[in-house]
């Protein structure tokens, strides 16, 4: 009975994504593929801009601090502050210098993205074996070469995971867009009286799907730039054939 109700609501939400209908409050048409495609586009655009700026700012700073082996306080503080400031409050705060709209939302999302990228880049470089770095220096590499050829590749898995954290956080949070005149997939969630009960569910489904897709895209891109020997075990297992891990797991539970 309740399962049926959940399924009915789910189907109704999916229908809202596919075909437009009259608003709960009358007068206007809402929903439909065209509208949701537009929201998705805006959602990805504002998230992409935010992530791009965050990478451009936080990655070099994190790498540099890690390379110099200092600034732990800065890296840790930035990540903690970033986690504690509510993004909704920032939207209001930034009107003063970013106005209301795309730039404002992008700026808020950017601030969400910076901490994980900065912290992971810093930790990623710090955790590189000092002997390896010494060996590289002994071979006559300059500081920049050490970073580019040794530290950066060895830090790649952590940097990637930082990027994935940032991506998930940003794409999920871009839902606040409509609160500052940016029509992302948050619109059917925030305007729930207009879209009806299907609105928030439809918005959530769409956001969840693109969040997972974006996360996977970053994972695959990160894996491509990670040296083979450092790829996460799960990836290696997958490469050596799907049967092995599942057999092991089966043996443990049995």
């Amino acid at each position: 009975m309740t399962v049926l109700a959940v399924i009915t609501e789910f189907v109704d939400a999916l229908r809202l994504i596919v075909e437009s209908r009259e608003a709960q409050t009358g007068d206007v048409q809402v929903g439909g593929l065209g509208e949701f495609a537009y929201f998705t586009g805006q959602h990805l655009l504002v998230s992409g801009v935010a992530l791009g700026v965050a990478v451009a700012v936080a990655l070099p700073v994190g790498l540099y601090l890690g390379h110099q082996n200092k600034g732990e306080f800065v890296a840790v503080s930035v990540s903690n502050i970033g986690r504690s400031v509510p993004s909704l409050a920032l939207l209001g705060l930034f009107i003063a210098f970013a106005g209301i709209g795309f730039g404002n939302v992008a700026l808020v999302l950017c601030l969400i993205a910076v901490p994980p990228i900065l912290t992971n880049a810093y930790v990623g470089v710090r955790q590189v074996d000092p002997d390896t770095v010494d060996a590289a220096k002994g071979m006559g590499m300059t500081g920049l070469e050490v970073m580019r050829k040794v530290e950066l590749p060895l830090a790649a898995p952590l940097i990637t995971s930082g990027l994935r954290l940032a991506t998930v956080a940003v794409v999920a949070t871009a839902t606040i867009g409509p609160l500052a005149d940016t029509l992302t997939l948050g619109r059917p969630i925030i305007n729930n009286n207009v879209y009806g009960e299907a609105g928030p569910l439809a918005g959530a489904i769409a956001v969840a799907v693109i969040t997972l897709l974006a996360d996977q895209a970053v994972r695959i891109a990160g894996r491509a730039v990670t040296p083979k020997g450092l790829r996460l075990r799960s990836d290696q297992e997958r490469e050596s054939g799907p049967n092995v891990p599942s057999l092991k797991r089966g043996a443990q539970t049995a």
Binding site: A23, Q24, I95, A96, L183
Partner: protein
């Protein structure tokens, strides 16, 4: 039985007398349904202790914004002054959350706006909410009764949408009402909470009723910042917003009474209606009487602008209005 009857009659007489006195007191105050008006309202009748008021604990709840905190405190303190055992559980969240808490017995009463109650709980479309208080209240009361909730008599003030401009700009353009805005506002931009753009009781309705066609709609929850930073020309305020006490802002008159009614009715759960009884309800009505839009703006401004505690603002209101000594 006999004693009970006599007490009831005595109480009835007392209530009638206090009502008569209140009515007498009001006449010199300036008449009209505006009641007290101005700062804090006219002196009212001191709240009488209800003899043998039941001592079950009554929890007064509220939604999550300033006006609700103030109202919750006023009702709780007024009932306490009448001898009931009240406590508050304010800041519950949005309307749905508060209503569920009421039905679940977590709280015994909380103030709700007629328009919100009708549209959020009782499946009335925003466009179908009556724009007169009496039918809106009657509809709310009947619908609430089906949920075993009593909707007490509405407040004089209502907290509806109030399109607002910078006074300077409004004067320069000669815009004082929504009709003026419809006639002269085609080059202006309009800002409001995101839903306003699509709701029948929002922009689409304003266009139908007044011919208001702003050149741009800016979806935002912010208000004063939007006007101050010139992000839009007209911003959707609420009619009891504390900021409207500032001369800098001018709310445009809804001269065709388009916006639905958002007077407050205290929603009371079944058990609590028995606890406070008709006498408790009279106390609620009594303290609501001076609450005009100006009074509510003033009270809100003390919390929002002057950063005073809602509890203290409520106490000051009861004192300034003469309900407590």
């Amino acid at each position: 039985m006999n004693r009970y009857l006599r007490r009831s009659i005595l109480t009835l007489v007392a209530v009638l007398a206090s009502l008569a006195l209140a009515a007498c007191g009001e006449q010199p105050g300036g008449g009209g349904d505006g009641g007290g008006g101005g700062e804090g309202g006219a002196p009212g009748q001191v709240i009488q202790r209800v003899p043998n008021a039941p001592q079950q604990e009554i929890t007064v709840g509220s939604k999550d914004f300033e006006e609700q905190f103030i109202l919750g405190e006023i009702y709780a303190q007024a009932l306490r002054a009448a001898g009931y055992n009240t406590k508050t559980d304010l800041d519950l969240g949005d309307a749905q959350t508060a209503y569920k808490a009421l039905q679940g017995g977590e709280i015994d009463m909380y103030p709700e706006y007629l328009g919100t109650a009708l549209t959020s709980f009782y499946d009335v479309k925003p466009e179908d909410v009556p724009s007169e208080t009496t039918p809106a209240y009657q509809q709310t009361k009947d619908a609430a009764a089906k949920d075993k909730v009593a909707a007490l008599a509405p407040t004089p003030f209502q907290n509806t949408f109030a399109p607002t401009m910078l006074t300077e700009e409004a004067n320069r353009l000669g815009i004082a009402s929504l009709s003026d805005l419809g006639a002269k506002g085609d080059d202006l931009s309009y800002a409001g909470f995101p839903e306003f753009e699509q709701r029948a009781d929002g922009l689409p309705g304003l266009e139908q009723t007044y011919g208001i066609k702003p050149k741009d709609f800016v979806g935002t929850e912010e208000k004063t910042e939007v006007l101050d930073q010139d992000e839009a020309d007209v911003v959707n305020f609420f009619s009891t917003d504390g900021e409207l006490t500032l001369p800098k802002y001018k709310a445009l008159a809804d001269d065709k009474t388009f916006f639905p009614r958002y007077n407050v009715s205290l929603l009371v759960g079944e058990d609590a209606t028995r606890v406070i009884g008709p006498q408790g309800m009279k106390v609620i009505e009594q303290v609501q009487k001076p609450m005009t839009e100006e009074v509510m703006q003033e009270l809100n401004s003390r919390v929002v602008l002057d950063k005073e505690q809602p509890e203290k603002v409520a106490a000051a209101y009861l004192k300034e209005s003469g309900f407590v000594k």
